[in-house]
């Protein structure tokens, strides 16, 4: 056990910090869930990519730097501490890419990954359906093979970034007779596919963060099938595990947020009435950091996180919510002010973060489902 960063790791940190210091936009970008903001964030992805910072932990051939998990964690610490813009292609990079690395053909990897890394193609996840939320296996969108093509019919919803994305990654039912987890396939769908329509709808802040997707005899070429036909559930679950694990929420986000919370307390509260809560949140953000370094060591030595990922997901999602709610409590009257209000504190970033954090205990498997998983798979309690 040695928690000292190596000379290389320190050098890496310096490089990241220096690059960010020079390149971060002077003004915060508009929300990436607006048409204008989306394109400006795409430009930022391009800038990151140009200097090899968009996907530092990927292989060099796809635009990365082959950096270690520890270095990726360092990157994230510096990234979030620097107030850099949000990442518009997180869904692609964190959720889809690990699946492509694992299941994609050479052709698919070559075709998809570099453009994902550069921001040329931005991806959205289209898994949920109106009757298939937490219970994803009940999905019913059909994709019937017809020569070199699949013909899609059905409806997807809660497609984040779905308003402006270039590509979608979907799970569809390729065997129309199948039920539950069987007969599903993992399919990549260009957003300009004929027969596909999207209806954009607003998040709680009204921004067009989601879309519903309607497929009516939409034709998708079979080269966009990821993994084997009928194996979609297994392929998808590999991604789910990434979604719940290290790749989605690096501790740097929460460390930076906890530091900002401590600053906010200093600025707004003289009474010390929040200090225990702030210290507790700060401590949890650091605890999560050590959990992640510990997980990184396990992964680096060939281990797997397994259901530990469920514990991490519950922890960070509830920490995030607690953190943002406390900031709003401190802001008092100004908590409710939205972007565009003359008096909004820091351009209403705490309110935005709170609204975003609210989704954390719901997506990627609700925290109730995660707790079931922990109880049954980690602790071995009986299902029924």
């Amino acid at each position: 056990m040695n928690l000292k960063f190596t000379a290389e790791e320190n050098k890496f940190r310096e490089e990241v910090r220096e690059w960010l210091g020079k390149n971060i936009p002077a003004e915060p970008l508009p929300s990436l869930d607006t048409a204008e903001g989306f394109e400006l964030h795409r430009e930022w992805e391009k800038k990151l990519f140009a200097d090899g910072w968009s996907v530092p932990n990927w292989p060099k051939e796809f635009g990365g730097r082959d950096c270690s998990i520890t270095e990726w964690l360092i990157f994230e610490e510096e990234y979030w501490a620097s107030n850099a813009p949000g990442r518009v292609n997180t869904n692609g990079i964190s959720l889809l890419a690990p699946t492509i690395f694992q299941f994609g053909t050479d052709e698919q990897q070559q075709r998809i990954l570099p453009k994902m890394a550069s921001g040329e193609e931005i991806w959205a996840q289209a898994w949920s359906e109106p009757n298939a939320g937490s219970d994803l296996a009940s999905l019913s969108t059909k994709a019937i093979a017809d020569g070199d093509w699949f013909i899609l019919n059905g409806q997807k919803t809660w497609c984040s970034r779905g308003a402006f994305a270039d590509w979608l990654f979907c799970i569809v039912r390729t065997d129309p007779e199948s039920e539950r987890h069987h007969g599903l396939s993992y399919l990549l769908v260009p957003a300009d596919t004929e027969g596909m329509e999207r209806r954009v709808f607003g998040r709680l802040d009204g921004r067009p963060a989601f879309s519903e997707i309607f497929f009516t005899d939409a034709k998708v070429h079979k080269s966009n099938l990821l993994g084997e036909a009928g194996q979609g559930w297994a392929v998808a679950m590999a991604t789910t595990s990434s979604e719940r694990g290290l790749n989605l929420r690096a501790p740097g986000r929460f460390m930076a947020a906890a530091d900002k919370l401590a600053e906010l307390e200093k600025e707004l509260s003289a009474s010390g009435q929040y200090s225990k809560q702030v210290a507790n949140i700060w401590a949890k953000s650091r605890a999560y950091r050590w959990v992640c370094f510990s997980a990184a060591a396990k992964l680096a030595s060939g281990g797997e996180l397994g259901s530990t990922a469920s514990m991490m997901k519950v922890f960070w999602s509830e920490l995030d919510l607690e953190l943002c709610a406390l900031a709003l409590e401190m802001l008092g009257d100004r908590a409710e002010l939205m972007e565009g209000s003359p008096d909004a504190y820091n351009n209403s970033s705490w309110l935005d973060d709170y609204l975003f954090a609210l989704a954390g205990p719901i997506y990627a498997g609700t925290n109730e489902i995660q707790r079931n998983i922990i109880a049954e798979r980690v602790l071995g309690l009986p299902r029924k």
Binding site: L204, E336, S341
Partner: protein, 357 residues
């Protein structure tokens, strides 16, 4: 000690609820939010039933009621997500009423104090009051613990507490407004710039007005929380995942049981705080300020917590479906967050209690 809402009080609240069910449905609320305009004719109907003049004496054409009835109506306003400056206007009317009629009676108390009179008051005061208890003008008061006047965009007159010992009354043309955008869209919190002078001073007691507002906001929290709970209960009964209704899951049951416990333990405290305000002069000397302030603060702290918990569990038990402006739940969640945080949030009121323990 008789802790029971009277049948008159219940009837009054039920009448108001029926009015709001008819005229302020969730579709009406949505339209009002989307168009940034009040619900047509609603303010008129609220006025017609006398709800704008709870605090005016019967002699003055009002109902001569008290903070208890105010709380009951605010609870209904919360349940309906009423997108109107109903609380603000009611508090403002109560200030003017007692400035004009310091011996004004109400159902629970023969004396009434708190609102001070300033001699050189504005001559038009009776006329403004007249208009306010009908539907002709809207008043908005500042809250001594806030920089913003809610629904400032709708106000014709402002009651502004320049110093904690009295208010100033100014017409909207005499002030400069800095309107903000709230997550609870119709509120439009507004910072008001004005020049206080001897001519604008009218008296009144900002601390008393703050307590009234806090109790009213606490009642709004209750009604909002109850609506969130009721809506969520209905949803989880219907929504099926994994082949069974979500409402059979023990985790969901316990989340919602916790909301119910929280509401049921806040409600009597809110009514008690309202009663303490109504009867503030009949309490034993020496206990008055402390008892009233603590009753109000514990009511607002607990009701705020209930509203926040209800919003959290409503969203969690709905899942993604409630995470959009397309679902009506968003109006109540936003109202919960904002009502919990306005007129002093839980931290503010716990601090106030702590200082007097």
């Amino acid at each position: 000690m008789q802790f029971e809402i009277t049948s008159d009080q219940k009837l009054f609240a039920d009448t108001f609820r029926s009015l709001l069910e008819a005229k302020c449905s969730s579709d009406d609320v949505r339209k009002s939010w989307e168009e940034g305009a009040p619900i047509e004719n609603l303010w008129h109907e609220i006025s017609e039933m006398g709800a704008l003049s709870i605090f005016a004496s019967e002699a003055d054409g009002g109902l001569g009621l008290s903070e208890v009835e105010m709380a009951l109506l605010m609870e209904e306003a919360g349940r309906a997500a009423l997108p109107e400056p109903f609380l603000e206007h009611t508090v403002a009317v109560s200030i003017l009423a007692s400035i004009l009629s310091p011996s004004l009676g109400n159902s629970n108390s023969t004396k009434k104090s708190g609102d001070k009179i300033i001699k050189n008051q504005i001559a038009e005061l009776p006329e403004i009051f007249e208009k306010a208890i009908s539907e002709e003008i809207i008043l908005s008061p500042t809250n001594i613990n806030s920089e913003y006047v809610a629904y400032g965009n709708r106000a014709d007159f402002f009651l502004l507490a320049h110093r904690p010992d009295h208010f100033h009354l100014l017409e909207k043309d005499a002030v400069t407004l800095h309107t903000q955008k709230s997550i609870d869209e119709p509120r439009n919190p507004t910072k008001v710039e004005y020049d206080p002078s001897k001519e604008t001073a009218v008296g009144g007691d900002p601390a008393l007005a703050f307590n009234r507002g806090a109790v009213g906001a606490a009642a709004i929290c209750l009604g909002t929380a109850q609506k969130l709970l009721d809506t969520t209960v209905e949803y989880v009964k219907e929504r099926k995942q994994f082949g069974t209704s979500v409402g059979t899951q023990q985790a969901v049951k316990h989340h919602l049981a916790n909301v119910a416990i929280s509401i049921e333990h806040a409600r009597p405290n809110v009514y008690a705080a309202a009663w303490h305000l109504a009867c503030r002069d009949d309490l034993n000397a020496g206990e008055v300020a402390g008892e009233v302030d603590k009753a109000v603060s514990s009511a607002k702290a607990l009701a705020s917590d209930a509203a926040n918990l209800a919003a959290k569990q409503a969203l969690q038990c709905h899942g993604a479906i409630a995470y959009t402006i397309e679902n009506d739940l968003n109006f109540w969640m936003k109202q919960a967050w904002v009502a919990a945080n306005s007129w002093g949030n839980s931290a503010f009121h716990l601090n106030r209690i702590s200082n007097s323990l």
